[in-house]
């Protein structure tokens, strides 16, 4: 017998009793009066920031103001955006502006799964990550988020919350472990 058949046979034979699946909507979860404010307060503690785009302002100008000396900038939110010949060729991107589909107030997470992107490496190679999220696409909890997301990008989708970080040396929190050193969420 193959390992698969052996393992499955043992699992079948050793089945313990178990309950039915619970209704995860039966329990009320936390809600926020001001979801944007909850999101912003949290993301600032996680190596990021969040702003609401003012009338007449543009994402690009917000980025320019924040990082006037920035290096290579790639904007995936525009149609016909720049493409890369390989996932590795994004290695020198300084600022990546990418569409975020949905934001979550309780965790400061943004769902990223962009149908019009070939190489997801850009999200993790860039030094500064800018996530552009529609103003009304913000939910209270991860349960609400999982109701609304879909895997649109080459089989990939991810929640990103703040910047890459680690506390592996003496529990000292350091921003910029392997991924982006800074994260900015712009609600438009």
């Amino acid at each position: 017998m193959s390992s698969q058949a052996n393992i499955l046979a043992r699992l079948r034979q050793n089945r313990p009793q178990g309950p039915a699946l619970p209704d995860i909507d039966a329990v009320p979860f936390i809600t926020f009066d001001d979801k944007f404010d909850a999101f912003r307060t949290l993301v600032r503690n996680l190596g990021g920031d969040a702003v609401q785009l003012a009338d007449g302002d543009s994402v690009l100008s917000v980025v320019q103001q924040r990082w006037p000396q920035h290096g290579r900038l790639v904007d995936l939110t525009v149609a016909g955006h720049e493409e890369s010949p390989s996932p590795h060729a994004w290695h020198d991107v300084d600022v990546a502006i990418v569409p975020g589909e949905l934001a979550v107030a309780e965790s400061a997470a943004v769902w990223v799964s962009h149908a019009d992107n070939q190489w997801r490496s850009i999200y993790f190679l860039t030094q500064k990550l800018v996530l552009v999220v529609p103003r009304d696409a913000i939910v209270d909890t991860m349960r609400d988020a999982y109701r609304r997301i879909a895997i649109r990008e080459q089989g990939f989708g991810g929640f990103i919350s703040g910047s890459s970080r680690t506390a592996d040396i003496e529990q000292s929190l350091v921003m910029g472990a392997h991924g982006a050193m800074a994260a900015l969420v712009i609600f438009v």
Binding site: F29, P87, F159, T166, A177
Partner: protein
Amino acid sequence: MKNDNIHHAEAAAAFLQDREQARWHDSAIWWVRQKRDMQAKQLPEWEQLRALAQQIKAHTLSRLDDYLLQFQANAEKNGVTVHWAADADEHNRIVQGILAAEGVKKLVKSKSMLTEECGLNPYLEQHGIEVIDTDLGERIVQLRQEPPSHIVMPAIHLKKEQISELFHRELGTEAGNNDPTYLTHAARANLREHFLTADAGLTGVNFAIAETGGVVVCTNEGNADLGTALPPIHIASMGLEKIIPRLEHLGVFTRLLARSAIGSPITTYTSHFHRARPGGQMHIVIVDNGRSDILGNDDFYQSLRCIRCGACMNTCPVYRRSTGHSYSYIIPGPIGSTLGPSRDIKKHGSMAFACTTCGSCSNVCPVKINLHEQLVLQRKRAFDAGTLKPAKKMGLLAMRFLTQHPSLMDSGGKVMRKVVPIVPESLTRHSAWSRPGRALPEMPEQSFKEMWQARQKDKKA
């Protein structure tokens, strides 16, 4: 790989020789427990959330074979190759086979306790493959050629001075520069080169979704993402208990995992992998390695609900004061102390006694595993299997004899309460009670039984 011959009490005694380091270890990990508490208190539904997670996992375990088959079918629909490994050896051979077929020379790995359990790194290195652990803590212990001491914080047993010295030697950082930011960014630069030049990436799996055939990996560093977005081959190794039925269930588990593990609302990256990157290939290796046996054990199968958050070790008064390196099994702390003995009671019997039975682990466990109850049952197995040191065995046998003979227990207690206070200090100097931080307890006037009887009499009067 870990030395199976570690005896918990002896290794812990050696660790406690350095009082300052031991105190730091205790308080650093207790702080993580406190951060977990702060997160839990912010959610009014915390206890209900734990109950939901417990029910979902308990349900899944009751039909694991069905969900695994569903998972496999959906993963294959996505173009993913699914492999099954009965044990560690088969897992290692499968991974090596995939890498050999594509001529892989360098593999970047993100954190996976399963591959530690299987001893994958030494196996691949023997076959000429360079293996780079990329989680910062894992990289540190890999360079030191030692196992992780914690499942979430692999290098928590080390001080920054030790890491600075290591990086100076291995990565050429400035001698004496102990700044964690400087050291982290030096490792970042070094590991970026490895990510960009690796031929394949291997990750663990936090959750495998039966409904979609995808796997979810949670990290704060982004190493699993770089390791799978750049090289053309992604191998995901998963224990067969990692399965959850539906995508929506992540709305429960992602709320619990990072809050329980590190006191954060979520990890920086919660990545859902359903296919290889364009032009690449994705493999999932489903590993049994003793899990199906545990499933059939009424006393211990609940341990398969574990989501590897590490909350049980952060709260454990014994773990905090002994480090993960004092446990013989690769997973330390309360959860390791039931998983290890379940796997091999002869090797890991001492772990069942690394416990005060305080029950704190069971109280923080996000999937409500009855950890402290399992540890008591593992003690019985350790005793029956003859793994106890002679002194411990004699002590337990004497205690059993006493508790079975109440009048002897009463009179023995009476004698002890009289004699102990007048024992000269020279006689106790070399006993367990003379070690630093310990003292003979003061002897009460009455035994508990006498106090209880007096109390009952007062009530009636």
